[in-house]
């Protein structure tokens, strides 16, 4: 029995068709092209335009309940929605605001904080970034040392945050700061939200080796943050972070995105038939494509089994770590194969400024970039080594 049959009721089929038609009719073509080029460095304007289109339809923040302006999708609807968004080459949702901070504020924020924070995310007017990692706190996040010192009704921040994705296009940051050093390292961490325009704060770009600008280092030099911008209790931020990171793990399997990427590879092979003079090689490539399809099938079914085991996606346990591990590994394999299939055409680094060089992409000329860029996915959001540690500890009891 295929667990995916739950999406094949008449209602779900009608919903899927509605989403598909909507994306086709409303997604701006220039944005679609960038997503189809596997770009994760979408400019603010592109993300915002699409978000506002979804907002007008009532589909912005698809994981949010109606009470906070979300569509209030059932888990089944949410699953089908995300899948269609991916197949239609629409941008990923704005993970930091709507995916991470929003649900966390709903769970831990005061009513005042909900009023202040949630509408900006819902309307797509306020962009958020995440201040978690530091130069010496990566996989070992709890060892973070960026300091927040309580002075009257403010915290004074000193230190730096590393690998801040979208820090250069965001308005606000949520982050973890060290307020006490006396106990266990997980204690003494406080969760704050702050305006990136605060005096004393600087954002330094970090260029990736393939040339994209996605991440930054953020420096704090006596940055003052009002105590009212603290989420939860002082020194108790680790609990909130764990909740927030469990949301992040859930979003990183990217099965539908991978199916879309594999679809593009198949289209490339069909259009160019590059191995028509080399039947043995064609056979070998077709086998690899088929194997990747099967791997994705296994991952997708596993994802559905995990997500719909309980009522509500947030109940997914530590076994979800394997979705991130396999999801990113398979994604890497798809991009590697896509690049290898382009052969000599993959040598060129020809992405243009507007990202709309679809002709070059069709000819395989941008196909090495995703392979390079997506190596980060095996490192970020809890490296795959950390995910394996989680499974070892929390699932297998080792």
């Amino acid at each position: 029995m295929d667990v995916r049959n739950r999406f094949e009721t008449p209602e779900m089929r009608a919903f899927r068709e509605e989403v598909r038609t909507f994306v086709r009719a409303n997604l701006p073509e220039d944005v679609r092209r960038k997503v189809a080029q596997e770009r994760m460095d979408l400019p603010r304007d592109d993300q915002q335009r699409w978000h506002k289109i979804l907002r007008a339809k009532g589909w912005a923040c698809p994981g949010w309940p109606k009470a906070h302006g979300g569509p209030g999708f059932t888990d089944d609807q949410r699953y089908v929605f995300e899948r269609e968004i991916a197949f239609g080459d629409a941008p990923r949702s704005m993970i930091y605001g709507e995916g991470m901070l929003g649900p966390t504020v709903m769970a831990y924020g005061t009513d005042e904080q909900k009023r202040q924070i949630l509408p900006g995310i819902l309307e797509g007017d306020v962009f958020w970034c995440q201040g978690f990692s530091e130069p010496n706190a990566g996989s070992d996040l709890a060892s973070l040392s960026c300091k927040a010192e309580r002075v009257g009704d403010h915290y004074v921040l000193n230190g730096s945050k590393m690998w801040t994705s979208e820090g250069h296009i965001a308005d606000w940051m949520f982050g973890l700061f060290r307020t006490d050093n006396s106990g266990r390292k997980q204690e003494g961490i406080t969760f704050l939200v702050l305006d990136l325009k605060s005096p004393g704060l600087t954002v330094r770009p970090i260029l990736l080796f393939e040339g994209t600008h996605e991440v930054n280092q953020v420096f704090f030099d006596n940055v003052r943050v009002p105590v009212a911008q603290r989420l939860g209790d002082e020194h108790k931020g680790w609990t909130i972070a764990k909740y927030l990171l469990s949301l992040e793990r859930f979003g990183t399997a990217e099965v539908s995105r991978s199916l879309a990427s594999l679809g593009r590879l198949k289209a490339f092979l069909k259009d160019h038939d590059p191995f028509r003079h080399a039947p043995h090689q064609k056979d070998a490539i077709e086998r690899r494509v088929a194997e990747l399809e099967m791997e994705l099938d296994a991952l997708e079914i596993t994802e559905v089994r995990f997500l719909f085991k309980h009522d509500g996606a947030n109940e997914v346990g530590p076994e979800a770590s394997m979705l991130k591990v396999r999801g990113t590994e398979i994604q890497g394999d798809i991009f590697e194969l896509t690049m290898m299939c382009a052969g000599g055409a993959a040598l060129g680094a020809r992405r243009d400024e507007t990202g709309t060089n679809i002709e070059a992409t069709r000819r395989g000329q941008d196909s090495a970039l995703p392979y390079f860029n997506f190596r980060k996915t095996l490192i970020y959001a809890g490296s795959n080594e950390i995910q394996r540690n989680i499974i070892a500890k929390a699932v297998l009891g080792l």
Binding site: S133, N136, G138, S139, D140, S143, M162, W163, I206, L207, L208, F209, E210, G211, V215, F268, H272, P274, F275, H277, A278, H280, Q281, A284, I285, G332, E336, M339, M340, C341, A342, G343, G344, A345, A346, L347, G348, A349, R350, R363, G364, Q365, A368, L369, Y371, F372, R375, K376, L378, I379, Y380, S383, N384, E385, R388
Partner: protein, 376 residues
């Protein structure tokens, strides 16, 4: 990389190490790369001055008569230092084509120029995305009196934009895929009807797509006889592939060393990450891949001296398959074991990884060479 070194080879190695550690240290590399597309690239002049361009060329044509062992030594050091230049297209692939099939006149005109750093070459043999087989030639050359007229398109010709002469494969009879019927022509860079669309490659080198619209060349432009250039091109590509394998081995050892150094200083969870067995085993796997790739690269390079073309093909293909797979493994794991820092532009690991990946794509990837090894 070589088991033993002669006195001359020791001196050559010293000069290469000095260059890559001083003039081409990673902090200086960006500055050097900026001049790479220029005709008067100072790095190339330095290569000539140090005798590296002449090292492997025959003595009767201005070279120093070095062996394939010397080539292995040069390439390994280029790999270790991430030295980016038109060396392989010019001194290895281009010169080999002339040595295999060029006329006496061609050799005496072209090879001394290479040795002195005056002449650069580029081979244009690919025509479509995904295509790797030099027999798939649709570009046509037709006779016009004593001339040939070439029309067609080529892609991904390495350093086509800085080359003085382009070696262009074109079909005089037969169909794409046929070994017979392919000719190789020397086309001057400024030939009428030739347009080059140049672009940077991911490893910070250059390549160009060629559009040839009724390019007229004289009969003397033929390298070898008409219609029988396939084995010449294969021989030149094998020399190039063997050289790239040696370069890849150097690059892999550099990644190995960078990673080994980093895991010994990076601390997480109160310990250096090198103390974790999960990390140790992956480091050991990297080490084993480097050693095995080195063995295969040496065997591939040695096979270039073989008079048996089948044996040469098998050895070079075996090396390219093994080295290519090791390059992926070592490149990906070097980045993973480092974590985020290796994703950045300012750290060397990602740049080694890009070069290794481009090497996998050049002169036939693993699937192509696996097929060729099987004789298919």
């Amino acid at each position: 990389m070589l088991p033993t070194l002669t006195e001359e080879q020791r001196l050559l190695k010293d000069s290469l190490e000095r260059f890559r550690q001083q003039d081409y240290a990673f902090e200086k590399r960006k500055g050097q790369l900026a001049k790479l597309g220029a005709k008067d690239d100072p790095v190339w002049a330095q290569f000539a001055e140090l005798g590296w361009l002449a090292a492997t060329l025959p003595e009767e044509h201005g070279g120093l008569g070095g062996s394939h062992a010397d080539l292995a030594l040069l390439m390994e050091q280029f790999g270790r230092g991430l030295v980016t230049s038109p060396f392989v297209p010019t001194v290895v692939v281009g010169a080999t084509a002339f040595r295999l099939a060029g006329s006496g006149k061609q050799k005496s005109e072209i090879l001394p120029g290479i040795a002195e750093g005056r002449t650069k070459l580029a081979l244009a043999y690919l025509e479509a995305p995904g295509q790797l087989d030099p027999a798939i030639v649709a570009t046509r050359a037709r006779n016009d009196g004593d001339n040939f007229v070439i029309t067609g398109n080529k892609i991904a010709a390495l350093y086509a934009n800085v080359a003085d002469h382009l070696l262009v494969s074109a079909r005089v009879f037969g169909q794409p895929g046929d070994h017979q019927g392919i000719s190789l022509f020397v086309v001057p860079a400024h030939a009428k009807g030739l347009a080059i669309d140049a672009y940077r490659t991911h490893d910070d080198g250059w390549a160009g797509d060629l559009h040839l619209d009724q390019v007229h060349v004289p009969a003397e432009a033929l390298v070898g006889s008409a219609g029988s250039a396939h084995s010449t091109i294969e021989g030149a590509l094998d020399a190039g592939a063997a050289a790239l394998c040696a370069e890849a081995v150097g690059a892999m050892w550099s990644l190995h060393d960078l990673t080994l150094d980093y895991i010994k200083v990076r601390k997480q969870f109160g310990a250096t990450i090198s103390s974790f067995q999960a990390i140790q085993h992956r480091m050991v796997n990297m080490y084993m891949k480097c050693q095995l790739a080195q063995s295969m690269a040496l065997a591939g390079m040695a096979a270039l001296d073989s008079s048996d073309a089948t044996a040469r093909r098998r050895a070079v293909s075996a090396a390219k398959v093994q080295v290519g797979r090791a390059a992926r493994h070592v490149g990906e794991d070097a980045i993973q074991l480092h974590g985020g820092i290796a994703m950045t532009d300012e750290y060397a690991a990602g740049h080694y990884f890009k070069r290794l990946t481009m090497i996998r794509l050049m002169f036939g990837d693993e699937e192509y060479h696996l097929r060729r090894y099987l004789g298919r």
